[in-house]
Symmetry: C2
Subunit: 156 residues, 2 copies
């Protein structure tokens, strides 16, 4: 049987919920001067010594996007670039004391926004939702379809 039209479908539901959640998360983090990327880098950099490339990989960012993000963290006094002792090409992102404090706050904000979003769900459905999304992520929605993107021209 064909699905009824005008009924929210999976695409709409995922697009809508992820978009709204993202705006709420951005707004909440903005109150302490962070973007979601800055939060992501702070948290991962706190866990252990990591280079920009490693942090970019973890946060699924381009290395050039990471440059901008680390610039912002440095400007805010939350992190510092330090030369790696192992590889003089690489830079370790060291979180400052203030950065660690802010990271604690931002993690609380992230958790709170998630909690608040899920409050409209009955208890048992929350676990099922997260589990189902996890399964999709590992199943047919693991890898992106490639879009035939035109290559960019060389710089003049």
């Amino acid at each position: 049987m064909a699905p009824k039209r005008n009924e929210p479908d999976l695409s709409f539901l995922l697009d809508h919920t992820s978009h709204i959640l993202r705006t709420q998360m951005s707004a909440a983090l903005a109150e302490i001067g962070l973007t979601a990327r800055m939060h992501c880098v702070l948290v991962h950099a706190l866990e252990e010594e990591r280079t920009q490339a490693q942090l970019a990989e973890l946060g699924d960012m381009d290395k050039t996007t990471m440059v901008v993000t680390v610039d912002a963290l440095e400007a805010a006094g939350l992190a510092e670039r330090r030369p790696s002792s192992r590889d003089r090409r690489a830079r370790i992102i060291a979180v400052t004391e203030e950065g660690a404090r802010i990271a604690g706050q931002s993690q609380e904000i992230v958790d709170r926004v998630h909690r608040e979003a899920l409050t409209s769900l009955p208890e048992p459905d929350r676990a099922t939702l997260l589990q189902a999304l996890n399964q999709l992520t590992e199943g047919h929605l693991a890898t992106p379809a490639e879009s035939p993107r035109p290559a960019r021209r060389a710089r003049q």
Copy 2:
């Protein structure tokens, strides 16, 4: 209890699944020369006589984005702009015969991509997932938080 770190959270899961599904949908629709927006406009325009503004509202697009989308549909011979008999400012988007045929195909593609995505889920979880997402959409994830965007300067 604080959530364990490095565990996929709601933000990651929604972002990831919606992004992957979107790439798959784009790739699948591209095979018949459509974008998701073109499909969306075609389907809604087929249901009843609708103006660009109404279609923009339904598809959550800016009116200027709608202009581009309708241009593409016209160029592909799938739809035509016709003056509204009620309001001479407005234009009805009329789907051509070929457009209706393509809309049928694109709807099949959309349904197939959704079906395929959900195959990794056990039967009972599918309904729960869709229901839970629906509830989020109507609950705390109904309306976007507003981001303080700087106003754009006037044209020179």
